[in-house]
Symmetry: C2
Subunit: 428 residues, 2 copies
């Protein structure tokens, strides 16, 4: 991540972002005021949100949440958003299905209960709608009029759609070689879409440059200068998983790693639920999943390193193809601290896993879902994941956006509309 | 629809389909026992489900529904399904968003409140998950082991996914010229997928032939021999719309017409809610939407006919391309009885409407959604729809499945990752 701060405009309005009280450095702990900043003014470390979370009766908070809307705004008391957020125009993502995956469990020998948290049910069919929804509130609060981002595809669609609905201009940046579905989806909402000749990491670097340029004034880059807010959206995955389990922590979670932000925030969300008394404390293990063609965190984990060495991505799992993951070291730390692991699977294993999940549970995942299900299988084979423990696997996107991955899949037969032709094809 | 009955197997188990008590002929009213039949044994008219619906305190029923799961099974007391349906393996569709479309309303001059019922949020991203979910329960009850259908695409995916999860074999039939996304989605769940050289109507005729053949024994064709059950799934759209409005009828609804079944069942659902006292009775108007390239019902409506003359479809709205709509006459009757209308839009208007909805509300609809939004606009222009009345428009599918319709949509510019290149492209 580029080390750079953006000073809040002098006319920044009084900030009402609910329980959020400050920005806090993840490295040195220094606090700074809420604003469109992403690096610590003291040490240039990454910033995250510090809260004054509701204290008192957990049962009352649980009831308040349960009475809320069936989207992420049921957790508004735990998020950096104004209290009336549910009434503002937005896509209202979240409260996606936690699918009990008994068929898949039987096939893989998982006996402790297996669930897929299926975020393809979000408005633009990826988990990115969660993080963008939070960033939109920050953008509104800080007076930005253009929403922007660097994206491997899913985020571009999520930003385009959210901007359209919430009344922002949008200008999003993508690598030039994305899947057709993601490109059309990013463009169809009518904002500016700019393709960059380069990798996602090139796009990201370009955006950091743009944000320091006068051209970028008034622009809220959801994953750059609004990143501390944006990233908090992933906490809602932790909240929903636990609430959908009946206010209970799972034993094991398998999470895909691109920048690593999602995994670190799910861990943060679980810790908050424990601290608030909303779930009973018990050990949980977090497993990180990468595609072998872009597995810098898995490589560091296996080598026993603390530092993540950037790679040049080469995988069909484009939504995870971040060669220089900003939160890589935090992922390593969490996997090691919780007794999890970081594992990777080849593109062929990704495709197999997409088909396995579709065939057993009727869920058509994008390549990132193939990565987590493939890693689940590999972890079981290696004895790193306990088959007798309750396990949740994330599917963060939709197979319709990565059709090429299963392009060989088509009709069993093509016939004339007659019984004779049906019989000739050997189908009777 | 082919006029043919399929006798229940002699060993049909005792039927427990909740409040469903019999099959009833829509033409002559004759009753027959619940079974895998679709045509009246007396007059060959189409059969539908007759219920013994809960009587008594509407407030208690309303509370029971509100305490139910956030999917169609909250309405189990009003559907032909066993009481424990929510605990059986299935995709659990429904409870999709009713989106308040203020931006679109402003653009079109609707002042009475405009909502999009967005069924792209279902598990396989179309409303078909609703009808298939009900058909699966009937198939289970009647002892079928293979799920089948004729499909314009969406249904094939819905059947494939539901069969995979619920433990059925599947074999589905599609026309050979469908969109790539729909073909892959129909195939990826691992069932048999058979492409037929012909139109949807040819596929449909072939399935009717197959069902009378020994080959089709043990096969539940969701939209043929299970059709009376299947069709009831569309009632849940009516239930959800009214509950999401706060247990209130809308004034006007715009519904797409393929076979016409969905529209007739939404009308049935609204009437049930009134009869049960769950909503206050008031007049409502139902508008039917077709693509001009397959508009036999609109043509009959405009000509003042009661009979629908079959056409050969030629439109990009393939999910509505049924040239010989079984429920066409009922659609005419409902539109006329409620003071609605039947209107159609050209393919160009469909594409415009897809972009309009995306740009204003961040919803990327498939072509069928372009048809309803396009028809909404046309009805307003013609003064047939009251802009001051509360209006709900259905989006029944997902834009990712009909990418070709907006294939021209892409990046504003492709640039090198430099500020200079950004400026050269005129984007700064």
């Amino acid at each position: 991540m580029a080390v750079q701060t953006v000073a809040p405009a002098a006319d920044t309005p009084t900030v009402d972002l609910g329980p959020a009280v400050a920005l806090s450095c993840r490295e040195c702990g220094a606090r700074s005021p809420l604003g469109p900043s992403f690096a610590c003014p003291e040490c240039f470390g990454p910033l995250e949100i510090a809260y004054d979370l509701p204290s008192g009766d957990p049962e009352a908070l649980r009831k308040q949440i349960e009475a809320g809307p069936t989207n992420i705004w049921r957790y508004a008391p735990l998020l950096p958003v104004p209290a009336d957020v549910a009434s503002l125009p937005g896509l209202n993502p979240g409260w996606t299905k936690l699918v009990r995956a008994d068929n898949l469990a039987a096939e893989l020998g998982v006996t402790g209960g297996l669930h897929i948290k299926d975020d393809s049910g979000n408005p633009t069919h990826s988990f990115k709608d969660r993080v963008v929804a939070i960033a939109v509130q920050a953008a509104r609060t800080f007076g930005f009029t253009t929403l922007s981002c660097s994206s491997t595809g899913n985020l571009a669609g999520a930003v385009g759609a959210a901007a359209a609905r919430a009344g922002f201009r949008s200008c999003v940046f993508i690598p030039h070689d994305l899947e057709a579905g993601k490109v059309v989806m990013a463009a169809v909402y009518g904002g500016e879409l700019v393709a960059i000749e380069g990798s996602y990491d090139d796009v990201n670097r370009f955006c950091s440059e743009l944000i320091g340029d006068p051209v970028g004034e008034g622009w809220g880059f959801v994953n750059v200068n609004l990143r501390p807010y944006y990233a908090e959206g992933s906490k809602t995955l932790a909240y929903e998983i636990c609430e959908q389990l009946g206010w209970r922590l799972p034993d094991q979670i398998v999470i895909p790693v691109a920048s690593g932000s999602q995994l670190t925030k799910i861990d943060k969300g679980l810790k908050e639920l424990i601290a608030l008394g909303l779930v009973e404390e018990k050990p949980y293990r977090i497993f990180a999943a990468q595609a072998t063609g872009c597995s810098p965190v898995a490589a560091a984990y296996k080598a026993g390193h603390d530092v993540v060495r950037p790679v040049k991505p080469d995988t069909i799992a484009k939504s995870l193809a971040i060669g220089n993951p900003a939160d890589g070291p935090y992922v390593l730390d969490i996997a090691r601290r919780t007794g999890g692991a970081v594992e990777d699977v080849s593109d062929a294993e990704v495709v197999d896993a997409i088909k396995l999940l579709a065939r057993t549970e009727g869920i058509f995942a994008e390549t990132a879902g193939g990565v987590t299900v493939g890693v689940l299988r590999k972890l079981l084979e290696k004895g790193l994941l306990d088959p007798a423990a309750e396990t949740v696997v994330l599917n963060t996107g939709d197979g319709l956006k990565t059709l090429d991955a299963v392009a060989g899949t088509g009709p069993t037969a093509t016939i004339r509309p007659t019984l004779a032709s049906f019989r000739e094809a050997g189908l009777a």
